[in-house]
């Protein structure tokens, strides 16, 4: 959501996720979201054998090509700590449920959305808990909070999407996490290798060949000669 003063760590987290789950086209001509759906067939990233902070880290380094997100180490540890154990169980379950539905190929309505958006908002939560997950559909419907089943919506261009909005109720900075591991410990044998993220290759910009100075001056001299000749003929 649009904040007046940019919070770098928030921006990095949301953007890396938005990119990973976007409808931008990768090097193979498929969207980044569909590329992730393909990978999901081999590894169920959001089941109980996976830790959310580890999955986030793997998704993020796939997008950045290796750099951890957020860049600031203190912010990163605090973010990992939040995902690892500070989120209310209902929020944790809702995140896992919604992303599983979005990545599955079981024909559920969310399994075919074009993209997913991730954002945060400081608002009162309906439960009174510090955090709540809102699907962006209808703020008056209790069903849209902490629900493991996502509600697909349509944007102004007719594209379908799901929104994951982490709402924060309490005015308190995220807890420090001095004992947190960076990068997070791997989830063992359930991990099936790096999560692919095939960036399209940028087309090299072709610069027009430089004309050599000698050639240029020779051309100029020839032109001058020709001009002189025609002038003489006219006389």
């Amino acid at each position: 959501m649009g904040g007046f003063i940019n919070s770098q760590a928030d921006a990095e987290i949301c953007e890396v996720l938005n990119k990973r789950f976007s409808d931008e086209v990768n090097a193979n001509g498929e969207t980044y979201l569909n590329e992730l759906r393909d990978f999901f067939k081999t590894e169920k990233l959001f089941d109980i054998h996976h830790h959310l902070h580890r999955v986030f880290h793997r998704l993020a380094i796939g997008v950045t090509g290796g750099a951890s997100v957020p860049k600031n180490a203190n912010s990163r540890l605090r973010w990992f700590h939040l995902l690892k154990g500070s989120l209310p169980k209902a929020v944790n379950d809702a995140i896992r449920g919604q992303l599983t539905a979005i990545l599955s190929d079981d024909g559920n309505p969310a399994s075919s959305v074009d993209y997913v958006t991730f954002s945060t908002a400081h608002v009162r939560t309906t439960s009174g808990d510090q955090f709540e997950l809102f699907d962006g559909a209808n703020p008056d419907g209790a069903i849209h909070y902490n629900n493991p089943i996502p509600t697909p919506q349509y944007d102004a261009n007719g594209k379908s999407y799901c929104a994951l909005i982490l709402q924060c109720n309490v005015d308190k900075a995220l807890d420090d996490a001095p004992g947190e591991h960076d990068p997070p410990d791997n989830d063992g044998t359930v991990e099936k290798g790096p999560i692919p993220f095939s960036k399209p290759k940028l087309k090299p910009i072709r610069k027009p060949p430089k004309k050599s100075v000698a050639k240029k001056s020779a051309k100029k001299a020839a032109n001058k000669k020709a001009a002189k000749k025609t002038a003489k003929k006219r006389r």
Partner: protein
Amino acid sequence: MLFSERLSERKLLKSADRLALLETLIGDFRKAFPDLKFELQLDFAVINAQAIALGDKRIVAIYGGLALHPELGAEALTFIILHEAGHHLAEGCRSKRDRSLACECASDYWAVTVGTDKLLEKSGRCFRLRTALEELDPIMGPRQPRKERYTKKASTSGCWAKGWSLRRRALFERVRPPMIEGFCITYV
């Protein structure tokens, strides 16, 4: 917003004058832009404001850390609220995090052109940009440092919103943002 800075309790300006100013200001905005919901969230000490789209509800939230900031006066607060309203009402380039919202530079441009005019017309509130920018300098300068390369290399949009000095100049000169459907700032 999870990592936004907070203003310490002792710095919050909770005088009767400030609260009256905020009420008048919000009242003017409600008159000028009745389709938006303006909320003062003074219990949050976050130094920020936010445009939030919750379903059909278009909310502008101003948090205590900004609303009660001792260095900000009426002009800066007016600009901040106009900018947030611009996220909901401006056309052109979209925000990466929520495509129903305008991006930062489109919101800025709307704020100092269409938004300013409409606010004056509907509520009579006149807004002085120069004063607003001077009030914002000490707040925004350290928090939005200028970076050499703040847009993606391949980007053609030329978004300025990440560096305060560029943003300030663009606001003052009312530089038109690119009217493209795409994304400008990238952080990763």
